[in-house]
Amino acid sequence: MNKILLSIIIYIASTNILAIDFNKLYKGWSNNQQVSYSASMGKELWSKEILPGKSCKSCHGSDLTQPGKHIRTNKIIKPLSLKSNPERLTKEKKINKWLKRNCKFTYKRECSPEEKISFIEFIRFN
């Protein structure tokens, strides 16, 4: 009985360790500096075309629970919202990789900490 309890505790503890600590992640991006960000800022930036014809929305759509479509290749992109795709935002490495790649694709530059955090906040709560 004790063994079962212990293994349950270990299991819960280990799954919690694996969950992403967003505050820590954000602090890493902003180098511990104070930055202003919000999910609503992320929403606003989402459809903003800094370069003509390209925004987050052009590939991912504005309803994050729905699949998107790559504007250059027509490839279907799985939904970003955790509501319809719980695998999203579960791996730090993937978050960093895709923010970097997609900011370069969309803005031809890397995103600022403010932009990155706002996007992730928008995705987390939509």
Binding site: R72, T73, K75, I77, N96, R101, F105
Partner: protein, 246 residues
């Protein structure tokens, strides 16, 4: 005596080969595989297949993949920076692509692609290999550039089994193929025109023409009837100015 045994043996071998060649899955297929090899590499699928169709390695020769995966090329991958943060991932993909490249493959279509290519050429686009070019030669530009296709690099738009490495003609459906086949007539002929749909041999008649305007979009529409062997159908094709018939 031995001669007799040899001839009996040969007889059975021939019968076996004849039966095998008639069935879809036969032993001789080990030496004669159709299509291209399917993808069995999750790193490649996740890294490259996230943005575009995961083109099978057997669609380009080793020298092309090597060139495509150099740092310079990845920094400008058909206009996009897709460089890798960690070289171990990139190396895994390079290894997979080069080991399974068209010139290393025992699959028929891969062999054809590889053979069509002069050894001094290493194209970065599959659509620039002579075999693929030749295979898509007859398809009108309108059918390729229409919205649901876009370009020849969008394999899955028409090749329904592309993800299975099957690029057979039998599994191809080109969207709007009929409109493509009669587009010249739709553009130029008057009402009442009777013609034949190339390749299907159906006869068709342009019945009427009208302008449909929906909000600010004006469309030219033409009603066409088709008569096949024992089928009769009527369809309306519309297009915006400078666009394609749908």
């Amino acid at each position: 005596m031995t001669k007799k045994y040899i001839s009996i043996g040969l007889f059975f071998v021939l019968i076996f080969a004849a039966i095998q060649s008639k069935s879809d899955y036969n032993l001789l297929n080990i030496f004669n595989k159709r299509g291209v090899q399917v993808i069995e590499n999750t790193t490649y699928q996740e890294e490259c297949g996230a943005c575009h169709f995961d083109y099978q390695p057997g669609l380009l020769p080793e020298r092309s993949w090597k060139k495509l995966m150099t740092n310079d090329e990845l920094l400008n991958h058909f206009g996009e920076d897709v460089s890798f943060d960690d070289s171990s991932t990139a190396n895994k993909i390079i290894k997979y692509l080069t080991l399974n490249a068209a010139d290393k493959s025992s699959y028929n279509r891969s062999k054809k692609i590889s053979r069509s290519l002069p050894s001094h050429q290493s194209p970065l686009r599959i659509t620039n290999t002579p075999y693929i070019k030749r295979k898509h030669h007859g398809i009108s530009k309108e059918l390729i550039t229409q919205q649901s296709v876009g370009s020849l690099s969008n394999c899955t738009a028409c090749h329904n089994n592309a993800h299975k490495g099957d690029y057979d003609d039998d599994s191809v459906t080109i969207p709007n193929i009929k409109a493509g086949l009669i587009s010249i007539e739709l553009n130029t002929q008057k009402d009442g025109y009777v013609g034949i749909v190339k390749s299907t041999n159906e006869s068709f008649k342009i019945i009427s023409t009208k302008i449909s305007s929906n909000l600010s979009v004006k469309k030219l529409c033409r009603v066409v009837s088709f008569k096949g062997n024992d089928e009769f159908s009527v369809r309306t094709y519309c297009k915006i100015k400078g666009g394609f018939w749908h």
